[in-house]
């Protein structure tokens, strides 16, 4: 590619063909040109490192920390709330303080926990972007960021829920939460029947990511 361009005729001369059905085919998501914001991020990061404001290892550790957050954190919080009504009360009143009791740091998120009951089913969405309770659930699934989920959940939530296999009876109100500003939401799902004798860790294992977004409920074991 001496002219600096990239012709797509695949007349490569490096001795093998690109078979995209091959398990060893390279992931294609790195092949395109960088977007404006990707270039901006790289430029900013390199400048900050060059000027000694941050180190490459700090960036790496930050990514590792973010990737290490999984819905298991949220599930621990839910299981504790199911077992301890006082904790549940504190969780709903002051989410960050209650999570700190379990040594889960949700800062800087203003965590707001919304409880499913026999009368109300909650579901969270961010119509403007993809705000999500990352400290408790990790990175959002791609459908949560899709324009389809974001626009339709505020317009026809019951239809969206049904597509997730979640049928909410008409005598239960659906309450959508649009995370437009500074708060972040987590749904406290209902504890299923048949779990009366389960220990905290067993309960936590039942709690799924989607039940804490509200697109699903926790199934009985």
């Amino acid at each position: 590619m001496s002219d600096g361009g990239h012709d797509h005729d695949h007349q490569h001369d490096h001795g093998h063909t690109h078979d995209h059905g091959d398990d060893h085919a390279p992931p294609s998501d790195e092949d395109g040109a960088l977007t404006h914001y990707q270039m901006l991020e790289i430029a900013m990061r390199e400048l900050l490192i060059e000027k000694g404001v941050i180190t490459a290892d700090e960036v790496r550790a930050g990514v590792e920390e973010m990737d290490g957050r999984t819905p298991e954190r949220g599930a621990r919080v839910v299981a504790r709330a199911w077992l301890d009504p006082d904790f549940k009360e504190r969780l709903i009143t002051d989410g960050p303080a209650a999570c700190a009791e379990l040594e889960i740091d949700v800062s800087p998120a203003r965590l707001t926990v919304v409880e499913n009951t026999n009368d109300v089913h909650n579901v969270i969405v961010c119509t403007l972007c993809s705000c999500y309770p990352r400290p408790l659930l990790g990175l959002p699934p791609s459908w949560y960021k899709s324009s389809s989920y974001r626009s339709r959940t505020v317009r026809e939530p019951r239809v969206v829920l049904e597509e997730f296999g979640t049928l909410i009876p008409n005598d239960v109100a659906v309450r959508v939460h649009d995370s437009t500003a500074d708060l972040r939401y987590m749904v406290l799902p209902q504890r299923p029947t048949g779990t009366e004798n389960m220990a905290e860790a067993e309960l936590a294992a039942l709690v799924t990511r989607d039940s804490m977004i509200g697109t699903s409920v926790v199934a009985a074991p």
Binding site: E156, A173, A181
Partner: protein, 98 residues
């Protein structure tokens, strides 16, 4: 600063179209709802977006709207609602129904 509106109060969202970075979605502008809770004060995102960090903090509310009031063709249950965060300068007291 004390909050202008209190929980349970009926409010309507300003029907404005200012330029810039806004956190008030179009679908909620001009609609009437009820204050669900009074939240803290936060930096104004409409100023922060332009790097202006020394402006006054603004009061945030959670406001609850009936989906029936938002979408004329809404086919779900009557009690279905949406809770959304709105800053005080987007809210005004709701006018009484004529």
């Amino acid at each position: 600063m004390t909050a202008t509106f209190s929980t349970g109060e009926r409010v309507s969202v300003r029907q404005a179209r200012p330029p810039g970075h806004l956190r008030t979605p179009f679908y909620i502008r001009g609609k009437q709802g009820e204050i669900e809770r009074v939240c803290d004060e936060f930096g104004n995102p409409e100023e922060l977006a332009f790097g202006r960090r020394d402006g006054p903090a603004v009061r945030l509310y959670r406001v609850r709207f009936l989906l029936d009031d938002l979408w004329p063709e809404y086919a779900g249950a009557d009690a279905d609602t949406i809770d959304i965060e709105l800053y005080e300068h987007w809210l005004q007291p709701a006018k009484e129904a004529a």
